[in-house]
Symmetry: C2
Subunit: 192 residues, 2 copies
DNA sequence: GTCTATATTCGGATAGAC
DNA sequence: GTCTATCCGAATATAGAC
């Protein structure tokens, strides 16, 4: 119980939001998961929305970190994109940030939506920059639309989770990733 | 109030599930949305899970119908796929079937998950058949992996919704769709 | 078949003691 | 700062009248 009640509350809420979304995450469940008492919760946070915001910011932060790390490696553009898409993921769990786009309470509130929006903007920037480098290096076709390609890749990740969960199997996710990577590879100017 | 209390209950539940998911859909809200009384609901259905199953089946059925219609048109494989991806959609509302993959109550119960799984299987079959035709006709590269490509396309749709909702704008969805279509077009054997 | 009444549990929070 | 007690309304039903 040492690691700071505040910290434990944020992490417990983050996990619950990831699994069950906004309505599915009750104060009672948060307390049980965090191992702190009710008094602590209302001491550190104004209420559920406030705590949820802190948990969201944490998830968004972690997502941005993982993206930055994945793209910080050496290699060609295709290698870095492949590395990011194929990095270790708990596929059936899905994306802790993407999950929240399903929640109307989160989407309807600009404050609660902001961390989600920003995390995807950062992801888009990393993809766009890397694809642009690939085009500049002649690795990808010169007429490839950078933004469209970046959005397609980001969508494959989020949608891959949905397909995998529907099937309760990792395979559809992996297939979708391999599919978009093959298309990207095939779009190379003349090589391959 | 004529169109059958049962029918109204299914449609009301379907809409609520679409918007708010399983936990977010309360009996009280269903009654309000459907305009029927509590007695009717427990007369026609065993309880919430039973009614939810009926609503899911309806959503899955509608999705399968729309897919079948979109692919029943004349045209090249690319034209039919483009037509399906660009057909009218209420993008910010997302997919009534895909939404449910976010719900742990639905994913944990094989009975409740079945309609979702089946709808995506049917979608995959349509995509796979159409892509296979495109390959046979020399429209797409001969070494294109049919299943991987089909999964990538299906993922772009579902993930596109997530990106659009995060931004509260249709643009990311449209960009992702255009992106995957460009990649598909660019993968053509030698044409273009 | 549909309605109203009632029951039980939980969600979300306040109050005040320690 | 954390704990326990308490509060009110909503979620999810059951019972029984019409």
């Amino acid at each position: 119980m040492k690691p700071n009640a505040r910290e434990r509350l944020i992490e417990g809420t983050r996990q619950l939001l990831w699994e069950r979304g906004y309505v599915g995450t009750s104060p009672t469940a948060i307390l049980a998961r965090s191992g702190v008492g009710q008094g602590s919760m209302y001491h550190h946070f104004d209420g559920k929305p406030d705590l949820v915001l802190a948990a969201e910011q944490r998830s968004a932060e972690l997502m941005q970190q993982q993206i930055a790390e994945a793209f910080a490696v050496e290699g060609t553009a295709l290698e870095r994109i492949t590395g990011y898409l194929k990095r270790e993921r708990d596929v059936l769990r899905g994306c802790s940030v993407g999950r929240l786009t399903a929640d109307p309470e989160v989407m309807a509130d600009d404050t609660l939506r902001a961390p989600i929006r920003e995390a995807f903007e950062v992801q888009h920037e990393h993809l766009r920059r890397t694809i642009a480098e690939g085009v500049a290096d002649g690795e990808f076709a010169g007429d490839l639309d950078i933004d469209e390609t970046a959005s397609a890749i980001a969508a494959v990740i989020q949608g891959g989770y949905a397909l995998a969960r529907a099937a309760q199997a990792v395979e559809p996710f992996d297939r979708a990733i391999r599919g978009v990577l093959s298309l990207l590879r095939a779009s190379a100017p003349r090589a391959n």
